[in-house]
Amino acid sequence: MDFDLSDEQRLLKDSVERLLADRYDFESRNGWLGGEPGWSRDMWARYAELGLLALPFASEYGGIDGGAVETMIVMEAFGRALVLEPYFPTVVLAGGLLRHAGSKDQKADLIPQIAEGGLLLAFAQAESQSRYDLFDVATTARKDGDGWIVDGHKTVVLHGDSADRLIVSARTGGGRRDRDGIGLFLVDAGAEGVSRRGYATQDGHRAADILFENVRVGPEAVVGNPEDGLPVIERAVDEAIAALCAEAVGNLAVIHEETVEYLKVRKQFGVPIGSFQALQHAAVDMYVDLEQARSMAMFATMMAGDPDAAARRQAVAAAKVQIGRSAKSVGQSGIQLHGGVGMTMEFKVGHYFKRATMIDATFGNVDHHLDVVAGGDSLVAA
């Protein structure tokens, strides 16, 4: 067992952190947030330059062969800087689907484009009735000659408004909640029959509702097995959850640091409020919850690639529960200990709390994942 970063990992961490420290100050972020497309194309180019957009992909397609630990490093740093760019939907989520199920041709075509920053992807998965069930798919793809026709309505597609291409989960057979009969299809965002309504999310990111009406795609659009796509979706989503956990750790670490700092500088009744024992202990509780979250994000990272799907699910779900609980306790305490100013847009703490809270609501909240853990085997058996 080894908790140290390798030299390459350390280098990666340092360079991401340096880039963000140099460029991603709060004012710049606010500027991008208020403009179009709601994030920075300049930063996106810099991520490409640094190799971040190529990170998880195989070197044979121009990738860097990074693994879950590398993704964790980037996502935690992004969480610390509250990065707005669509790294998660493009590189982690859709990238994961591509990595695990894409054909050679698809990979050879798409990965270099992603890597150089020229292609944005989104995973159009959730539907209004599906809540957090990945297998609940009403959108259909029916065979039409050698191609397919996709019909359906996807909702809260993360960064779906600026994506160039969409990977759409659609039912090729079976009933709405069957585990079989789900396929993945690459659809051009500009294809005929695709209409999008983009909007901001609570945390300053973007999302879209996307309607697919009689959208025709060719045979080359199929990603993986069109009758049995669910295992790939689950695998990619589990990896994506591990990445979100790391991002949330970045969020919570900043909330904690900002709060401790505020306790030191803010004076009341003539003394720093950090001298009040009740506030000290609250800050310690935050610290404990943060470190527990960090531990579980590491655990999820370690288990995200586990070949045993049940063990992977169990581990990732457990991490998501811990992250969600820590987001609540650390975030709420962070606001509370700041007092009134914690409620304002000017102070950082609220923004980080919003992002961490939205991470809880993404791909399954605490309740959802607690069900998973409770339904499975013991998490701590030998």
Partner: protein, 401 residues
């Protein structure tokens, strides 16, 4: 000891309930149910409906427009208003400056201001908090220098709720900078927001809301007749004002109404292909909050009954700190339950729609306010004396520590 409502109390409750149901415009009720923001017009309209009925300021002395109700009736009135749900009258006029004026103000002030407060002809806001003061209110620095028959006010107030609509502000100002104790040398001034030198700057809260403001005073000339009571006695009036907040602070009716709504909504979303309200886990979480709320309701009734027993002295029962602490926790718990209900539809951020906007919401139409309310209501355990301060008060005043 009989912990049931008497027949008279039930009759009163039914009367109030049926009035609220009839009199509240449906458009306002609909906004209240899902926690959308109310417009200024909504608030004014409702206050005037109450005033027409004679129920605008039930807790005031009868001579100034009060109803003469006892604590239990006032409790029932508030509870029913919250459950309707109807907008609670803004406290700044009717609960804060109004009682200060009729208790300590001049006759001229009483005549000039009180009827306009009841009818919300004047919209009042509160100028107590200052940047850097927080829970340590007495460290305030806004100054008022006497200059002939005026005071000249300079300084800054903050957290001024809805100052953007306000006609008047009541302020604590420092009139004697050399007073021995910080609490001395403070006066209570009424200031017309139209006076030159006043600037209102909104504070945006991180949920996206624009409720609170900074108010700047730059050589603002205030007629001396707008001083309440005696110069340098303002701290006493402020303590009186803050001590008045008692009945209803727990907002039991608000939480009841929210839980009822959450129950309905959880019947409309599905999880595992059946209504969420049928999930044993969700029901247990709901039941746990309901149990706490029922307990708080009983605790509140005990406080109300104790008030009624010893006469409404205007002194807050220290136990009312329990109401604040537990009430805020429960209100916040309802926002967490609603987050559980909306699930992934917590994400979309929608500006409060303009009246008449016809763009459909993302997700179910009640989902939009869930996350902003979750964020915004964190304030409930901060404002009016944070829960930490409330615990200090209980430790000292009740436990003697």
């Amino acid at each position: 000891m009989d912990l049931r409502f008497t027949e008279e109390e039930i009759a009163f409750r039914d009367e109030v309930r049926s009035f609220f149901r009839k009199a509240l415009p449906e458009a306002i009720r609909a906004k209240m149910v899902d926690g959308h923001h109310l417009s200024k017009d909504d608030i004014v309209a409702w206050q005037r409906i109450l005033n027409e009925k004679g129920w605008a300021v039930p807790h005031w002395p009868v001579e100034y427009g009060g109803t003469g109700w006892g604590p239990m009736q006032q409790y029932i009135f508030q509870e029913e208003m919250q459950r309707t749900p109807a907008p609670m009258p803004l406290p700044f006029g009717v609960s804060m400056v109004g009682p200060v004026i009729y208790t300590f103000g001049s006759d001229a002030q009483k005549q000039r201001f009180l009827p306009r407060i009841a009818n919300i002809d004047d919209w009042w806001c509160q100028g107590f908090s200052e940047p850097g003061a927080g829970s340590d209110l007495a460290s305030l620095r806004t100054s008022a220098r006497r200059d002939g028959d005026h005071y000249v006010v300079n300084g800054q107030k903050t957290w001024t709720t809805l100052a953007q609509y306000a006609d008047w502000i009541f302020c604590l100002v420092r009139t004697d900078p050399h007073a021995e104790k910080r609490q001395q040398g403070i006066s209570f001034l009424l200031i017309d927001m139209e006076t030159p030198g006043i600037t209102v700057r909104p504070i945006q809260t991180f949920d996206g809301g624009r409720e609170v403001n900074e108010v700047f005073f730059d050589d603002v000339r205030v007629p001396a007749e707008n001083l309440v009571g005696e110069e340098n006695r303002g701290w006493d009036y402020a303590k009186f004002l803050l001590g008045n907040e008692r009945v209803g602070i727990a907002r039991v009716g608000v939480s009841k109404q929210r839980l009822q709504r959450i129950r309905e909504l959880a019947g409309q979303v599905t999880q595992d292909d059946r209504p969420l309200i049928e999930s044993p886990k969700f029901r247990e979480k709901l039941a746990s909050v309901e149990i706490e709320l029922k307990a708080l309701e009983m605790t509140q009734l005990r406080v109300v009954a104790a008030d009624a027993r010893r006469g409404n002295t205007g002194r807050p029962d220290p136990a009312s700190s329990i109401l604040k602490i537990k009430g805020s926790q429960i209100q916040q718990a309802t926002t967490e339950l609603l987050m559980d209900v909306v699930g992934p539809f917590a994400l979309p951020y929608e500006e409060e729609p303009d009246e008449g906007s016809n763009e459909p919401p993302i997700g179910p139409d009640w989902a939009g306010p869930a996350a902003p309310t979750y964020f915004n209501w964190r304030k409930i355990s901060i404002y009016g004396g944070s829960n930490e301060i409330q615990k200090n008060i209980i430790a000292k005043a009740i436990l003697g520590l």
